[in-house]
């Protein structure tokens, strides 16, 4: 393993989502903070932790959360948005070492036991999607949804992401992804993408940090798929990854040649796509429509990805699922149903 140093802590609640707080300035390196959202407990909560210099952790703030935390993301360095299984979305502000809920959008997603399943943020806009197949577009300054797609999908939506400020991408339990153009008034998706002919749920979406048309998805059967949203309705590449359903996929925010995945089988993998470039493989697009220049992402190269990605398992397999993962700099944060969070430092990229 090329990892040195890791710390962990039991938090007595099953972790559903863990997210590093974005650094507001470089002075914060070394004392990063992160938020954890819990699930499956009688009283769930959102907690904020800070890593102290001696490797220990300190609970900075905690706040009650109604329902499971199903999705969580930092809108700005101080605003944290969550989606809840009770069907609502919440916005918390970090002020004077306390998390206060400054905004609540209730009853966004009624039908279905799971309520809202995911949340995504872009600028001042938030989007939530739920088990009822609805998508809500919210603005932090307004207490009512800006736009509602009542029947965005005919089944449960699992994850949502903004490829660009004007576009919204959702994935559902049937293995389809739908792209919505937020500028138009249509209630239907502008494009539909299919993973395969089988109805395999797509659990998570990850968007390339700089090239918004590249998306990687993790599916219920453990497959990873790389998509180019501009081309075709099917994935560019499919990688058989974990044996268990993929819980989360994440691009490294500064080095997108690296992705991290975690699974319900308790595995945590680091995929090093940079090895494809260095292998000198000519990156070409599918369908023979001409070759992309080498500045394009190596993830789109189908043949190369199959054979040349260096994959490292960062930890030994855990007995309980790992639900969420986030990466910042050289640190990977993850946690799951064993009620603990872990941080691995000095990941070599």
């Amino acid at each position: 393993m090329r990892v040195s140093g890791g710390t962990s802590r039991f938090v007595s609640k099953k972790c559903r989502k863990l997210r590093w707080k974005p650094l507001s300035d470089s002075l914060q390196i070394g004392s990063e903070m992160f938020a954890i959202g819990s699930w499956d407990d009688e009283e769930n909560e959102v907690t904020l932790w800070k890593s102290a210099n001696n490797g220990d952790f300190q609970l900075v703030a905690s706040v009650e959360h109604k329902g499971d935390v199903t999705g969580m993301c930092w809108q700005t360095t101080d605003l944290l948005a969550t989606s809840s299984s009770a069907g609502q979305a919440n916005l918390y502000k970090l002020e004077h070492k306390k998390l206060c809920r400054i905004q609540e959008w209730g009853e966004l997603h009624g039908r279905g036991g799971g309520g809202a399943t995911c949340v995504a943020a872009y600028g001042e806009t938030l989007a939530t999607a739920g088990e009822d197949g609805k998508v809500n577009i919210l603005n932090v300054r307004q207490s009512n949804p800006v736009k509602v797609y009542d029947s965005a999908d005919s089944c449960s939506i699992n994850d949502i992401v903004f490829p660009r400020s004007s576009e919204l991408l959702t994935s559902n339990m049937r293995g389809q992804m739908k792209l919505f153009d937020l500028r138009s008034n249509k209630q239907e998706a502008s494009s539909v993408y299919m993973l395969s002919n089988d109805q395999v749920a797509i659990n998570c979406l990850a968007k390339h940090p700089s090239q918004g048309h590249i998306v990687i998805t993790g599916a219920e059967n453990g497959l990873l798929a790389v998509w180019d949203l501009r081309q075709g309705k099917h994935p560019t590449t499919i990688l058989s990854a974990h044996k268990a359903p993929v819980s989360e996929v994440k691009f490294h925010p500064d080095q997108p040649d690296h992705i991290f995945t975690c699974s319900q089988g308790g595995e945590l993998w680091h995929w090093n796509g940079a090895s494809i470039r260095t292998a000198g493989v000519h990156v070409s697009a599918m369908n023979g429509s001409g070759s992309l220049d080498t500045t394009s992402s190596p993830w789109l190269s189908s043949e190369a990805v199959k054979h040349k990605v260096e994959t490292t398992s960062l930890i030994s397999q855990q007995p309980l699922p790992i639900n969420s993962i986030d990466v910042l700099g050289h640190s990977v944060l993850f946690g799951g149903d064993n009620e603990a969070f872990y941080i691995l430092n000095n990941i070599l990229l």
């Binding site: 279905g112 399943t117 197949g133 089944c155 002919n197 089988d198």
Partner: protein
């Protein structure tokens, strides 16, 4: 831990010293009071006695040195005795140790009888204890808070090589001295059971007194592993069965918890005989509050080959979706469960929707059924009919007509739908183009 090999007494002494720390407090108090004659401190002799009883000779000697009369012969003699006392260790065999110890004790006895300590009664008392005199040790019983404390002290000075199977006898004697079996507390009962190596008794007491089964279950698990590592034949018979019983009970209690059920699964995995069946039965009872949780349950069941649980979970989720009028999700769950009846039921519903509203509600589902179209005949029909209706919309009349004909011919259609099919066929029959051959019309 009465199950270990080797010397029992050092471990017992260690255990007592961990639980009865008064002597340490006493020593601190004596030391902190800086005076010329520490022996006048009210706790001095008691503390010294405690150290001696617990076999902590170094600390006893340190305290002794503080005595103003330390330079006298008797104190020197006492110090020497304390220093020379052999303590059992793993490097010396039991036989050798016993010889040394007996010699030492004889020396003590002779010094006492010679009256060396006659002037100081407290010192004499200590010497008597060192000599193993029953009288002196009996007198110590009043100092002890519990019977097992006294038992260990007695053993130290009368039978330091005590074997595990003899411990029960000494325990009984100690209990009798301290008021008999009637006065036993539940902790006492557990300890008595331990000394008598009566494992079922111990477990029974633990289960009765403690709230949850966490302690007995884990204790049995550790003992079982230790047992299997023991090169001798099974020290404890039937331990595996007892362990499994406790683990099953504990895991069952976990499964009813809304969050700890996942931990319960892991415990069931460790029960080779009955774990799987119990898990199968209890996994179905986990409350499926969301898709996310249902997926986790399904994954757990799949990993262990519990296909019936997978199927029933999918059906439950499908029914829930249906109750929320979400036919699309319901159909996806039905297809995942592979259940033909449920799929047929949902296909019927979708067809009914069509006949009422003239449109399909879940077109993206129907257009992309893929391999799962064959799960149920009704679904096949539905899928094909949707294809027909799409072709019709797109104006592909020949293809539509062909498809319609095959639909009619294959008798896949449910009875209530025949009318619709026939009505659909009418435009094709009456149109100018020859869309149906005569054979087809005949049928």
């Amino acid at each position: 831990d009465p199950k270990s090999e080797g010397y029992l007494l050092p471990q017992l002494l260690h255990w007592i010293s961990l639980h009865f720390k008064d002597c340490e407090d006493g020593a601190r108090s004596v030391l902190s009071q800086s005076s010329d004659s520490p022996e006048d401190h009210v706790l001095y002799w008691d503390t010294l006695l405690d150290f001696v009883l617990q076999g902590r000779m170094d600390q006893a000697r340190n305290l002794l040195k503080l005595h103003t009369d330390f330079n006298t012969d008797m104190f020197a003699s006492m110090d020497q005795l304390l220093r020379k006392m052999p303590l059992p260790s793993n490097t010396v065999s039991c036989g050798d140790f016993l010889i040394k110890w007996k010699n030492w004790q004889m020396e003590v006895v002779s010094r006492v009888q010679a009256g060396e300590f006659a002037v100081y009664p407290q010192l004499n008392n200590i010497a008597e204890i060192l000599a193993g005199s029953e009288e002196a040790l009996d007198g110590m019983a009043n100092k002890c808070k519990t019977w097992y404390q006294w038992m260990v002290y007695r053993l130290l000075y009368t039978n330091p090589c005590v074997a595990t199977y003899d411990l029960g006898v000494y325990a009984q004697q100690a209990i009798d001295r301290f008021g008999g079996l009637d006065t036993l507390t539940s902790l006492d009962s557990v300890l008595l059971g331990l000394t008598e190596l009566d494992l079922p008794q111990v477990v029974k007491e633990l289960c009765m007194t403690l709230d949850g089964l966490w302690f007995p279950a884990h204790l049995l698990d550790i003992l079982c592993h230790a047992n299997s590592l023991n090169p001798n034949k099974n020290v404890i018979p039937n331990i595996a069965g007892l362990r499994e019983y406790l683990l099953l009970e504990y895991a069952t209690s976990l499964m009813s918890h809304n969050s700890l059920w996942q931990a319960g699964v892991i415990y069931f995995d460790q029960c080779p005989v009955q774990g799987r069946q119990r898990l199968e039965a209890l996994l179905e009872r986990v409350a499926l509050t969301s898709n996310y949780k249902a997926n986790k349950v399904i994954h757990i069941a799949k990993e262990r080959g519990l296909h019936s649980v997978v199927a029933s979970t999918c059906k439950v989720m499908g029914m829930k979706a249906l109750a929320g009028n979400d036919t699309g999700s319901a159909m996806t769950w039905a297809l995942r469960s592979g259940d033909a009846k449920f799929t047929t039921f949902l296909a019927d519903r979708l067809l009914a929707e069509y006949t009422q509203s003239g449109r399909f509600s879940s077109t993206d589902l129907l257009d992309n059924l893929g391999a799962s179209i064959i799960v149920s005949e009704r679904l096949t029909f539905l899928g094909k009919y949707r294809e027909f209706s799409r072709m019709r919309e797109e104006g592909d009349n020949t293809g539509a007509a062909d498809l319609l004909h095959s639909l009619l011919w294959s008798r896949l259609a449910p009875k209530y739908f025949w009318i619709t099919l026939l009505i659909d066929a009418v435009p094709y029959l009456t149109s100018d183009e020859v869309l149906f051959t005569s054979d087809q019309t005949y049928q």
